[in-house]
């Protein structure tokens, strides 16, 4: 994977047996690099606070399907306290210098880097994704994200406009206040970082609600960095969407709400935002096309191998990525050979214990996610699609037998089928062919969504034309699934509103203060 340049540092003293693959011990088990606490409360006003209603819920690892810690079950009272704590901290936090805020972000990054292995193993345990991804992608990307926004903030400038010789318009960036952020479960720490880093850099205070499937890893990270953050600047309320998410999104004292998830909740959040007249940013997923033009197969060289890897990328993170390239469009003229090679490559994807560094695909994040994916296998078959590989739950036996594992699956069909139009959020590829450039673009755009897309060609002009013609916010050209902090990410069409990543994200957490100043010595002359 080339998601991040620096390979994670190995801890030499903790290297397990030299022979065979390295398998991390489960958090809390003997020899593990990390342990979760038995319980996590809310983090409000710089300290841990039990839930107002006194209730907790189990956090389950998808690796084994068993609970491993318990979380405070938040309600409106907890959200109220968190918003209050945010406003208490805001007057001083909003007046800190950019240098001071940037320093906090870089210190958070340094602390994370020093604990990368522990955070990565913890993240894998809670989410089910392979530890090689958390070690090489999730956590390094999160670290870099904090550093990026530390730098972007320092380099940000306001504006000075000369209206006339005596009149000047100054434009200042000012923070919004207390903002709400609702985090998804597919990249719990990275997605929290995407929202936190720009919000904190810009001088806002945050009330964050982690996903109910994956609330603990964010607290594990918080334990490592909480001494770096002034009290009340970051508040975390755990809980269910209905009980804690809705009270946060509808809270009359937040100044913005950011959400990553699905369309119905996205609409509900906009509805709340309309009642409170606050801005929203929404990232709502997609059904991303991955287009392979004829010249990809002109030679069977390194580029062909790269494109084959691109074809297989639907299985990254078990397909639980908003930009999962879940529709493959292959030129009719190369279809049989390219797809034949692609299917063979997908069959070689190694599924196993997510804590084994050689595992390529781990567990789906939750039982309901597993059930939904299996229901789509049924929809695919019923809809007339042809199964080329996979198609079933995977039973890995032993301790993993109750974990939520699904075989990487490829269905061949047509773009009007439901499996081509609906986001499954699993390792399920919908594959079809196209006949020429116009047909490729037409199929690619025949979707309600427009988040990601991939285009593969040896012809730079064709890449450019296809990339511009596809209605999506992120078009990867001869690559896929790279998420650098300095590239804007967000959706066209029903995939959402606003962007994440890139310095433009600071604008999403700032408002513009204009001082219009007259330096004229005398009156304007009206009265």
């Amino acid at each position: 994977m080339t998601m991040y340049a620096d390979a994670p540092a190995e801890k030499a003293e903790e290297t397990p047996p030299a022979a065979g693959p390295q398998v991390y011990a489960a958090p809390g088990a003997e020899g593990s690099v990390v342990s979760y606490k038995p319980r996590y409360d809310h983090f409000i006003g710089g300290r841990y606070v039990p839930p107002a209603e006194g209730q907790y819920f189990d956090d389950i690892t998808p690796v084994t399907g068993k609970p491993f810690t318990e979380m405070a079950r938040g309600t409106a009272k907890d959200v109220d306290a968190a918003v209050e704590a945010g406003w208490k901290a805001f007057p001083s936090w909003s007046r800190t210098s950019p240098a001071e805020r940037a320093l906090m972000l870089t210190r958070i990054a340094d602390r994370m880097e020093a604990n990368l292995e522990a955070i990565a193993v913890a993240e894998t345990w809670e989410n089910g994704k392979p530890v090689r991804e958390t070690l090489a992608a999730d956590i390094p990307l999160a670290i870099d994200h904090f550093r990026y926004f530390a730098g972007a903030l320092r380099a940000q400038e306001g504006g000075v406009s000369e209206i006339d010789h005596d009149t000047i318009a100054y434009h200042f960036h000012e923070p919004l206040g207390v903002v709400g952020q609702i985090i998804p479960w597919n990249f719990p720490i990275l997605m929290a970082t995407w929202k936190l880093a720009p919000a904190l850099a810009a001088g806002n205070c945050v009330v964050l609600k982690p996903a109910e499937q994956t609330p603990a890893s964010i607290h594990l990270l918080l334990d490592l960095i909480k001494d770096l953050i002034p009290a009340g600047v970051l508040n975390i309320v755990n809980g269910f969407g209905f009980e804690a998410g809705a009270p946060l999104a509808s809270h009359p004292r937040i100044r913005k709400i950011a959400f990553t998830g699905e369309t119905t909740t996205g609409r509900l959040i906009m509805q709340y935002a309309s009642e409170n007249l606050i801005p929203v940013t929404l990232e709502l997923g997609g059904k991303s096309p991955n287009i392979f033009f004829e010249d990809v197969a002109r030679e069977h060289d390194a580029f062909y191998e790269k494109a084959q890897e691109g074809f297989s990328f639907f299985a990254l993170n078990q397909g639980e990525v908003c930009t999962c390239p879940s529709r493959a469009l292959v030129a009719k003229t190369i279809y049989d050979g390219f797809v034949g090679d692609g299917v063979e490559r997908v069959k070689r994807i190694k599924q196993g214990n997510p804590l084994d560094v050689s595992t390529m695909i781990g567990a789906q994040a939750s039982n309901d996610q597993l059930e939904k994916i299996l229901s789509y296998m049924d929809i695919g078959t019923q809809g007339g699609a042809r199964l080329l590989t996979g198609g079933e739950r995977a039973d890995l036996g032993g301790d993993l037998t109750d974990g939520y594992y699904v075989q990487p699956t490829i269905f061949e069909g047509t773009n009007d089928m439901r499996i081509f139009q609906e986001e499954i959020f699993g390792p399920v590829l919908a594959l079809t062919s196209f006949d020429g450039f116009d047909d490729a673009i037409s199929i690619a755009n025949d979707t309600l969504y427009g988040l990601g897309a991939g285009v593969w060609s040896r012809d730079g002009s064709q890449l450019y034309r296809a990339g511009r013609a596809i209605e999506a916010g992120r078009v990867w050209c001869n690559t896929y699934h790279q998420y650098p902090a300095h590239a804007a990410f967000g959706g066209y069409k029903q995939s959402g509103i606003g962007r994440e990543n890139h310095k433009m994200m600071l604008d999403h957490y700032q408002q513009t203060k204009n001082l219009l100043v007259s330096y004229a010595e005398g009156p304007m002359g009206f009265f």
């Binding site: 479960w185 597919n186 996903a211 109910e212 499937q213 269910f240 969407g241 209905f242 009980e243 998410g245 809705a246 999104a249 990553t260 998830g261 699905e262 369309t263 119905t264 909740t265 996205g266 609409r267 509900l268 509805q271 709502l284 997923g285 997609g286 908003c322 292959v330 009719k332 049989d336 939750s366 039982n367 309901d368 059930e371 939904k372 229901s375 789509y376 049924d378 929809i379 019923q382 809809g383 042809r386 061949e412 069909g413 047509t414 439901r418 139009q421 609906e422 986001e423 499954i424 959020f425 594959l431 079809t432 062919s433 037409s442 199929i443 025949d446 309600l448 969504y449 029903q494 995939s495």
Partner: protein, 137 residues
Amino acid sequence: MTASKIDVTPAAADLLRTLAGKHGPLMFHQSGGCCDGSSPMCYPVGMFRTGASDVHLGDLAVDGFDPVPVYMSASQYELWKFTHITIDLVDGRGSGFSVEAPEGKRFLIRSRMLTDEEVAELGITPRFPLRAQPLPR
């Protein structure tokens, strides 16, 4: 028997009764998109505002309580109109604002294609014309 586009399993109906006892009349809106998308969201009536962009698929009968209306956005319905959906129940917790998540349960859609007879009886019009797309090979 009269054709319908929707149904509910006994397990899901049982939970709807429990939830209606706690939260009052309920409704469903089918979601799309990532994470918990492609799943039915259940809300107390009045929490989620439907509008001209939604299609009312029908009402689920739940003994002893108000019928539970089921909605879907019109754009998504265009792709689902030949599908019969049954709302089922599995263990889980979702991640939207659906009302059942705190119970440790999640509503889930089971699908089957409507028969030609059902399509005729329900008066479902053909899809927006899509380009002819023969199966590859």
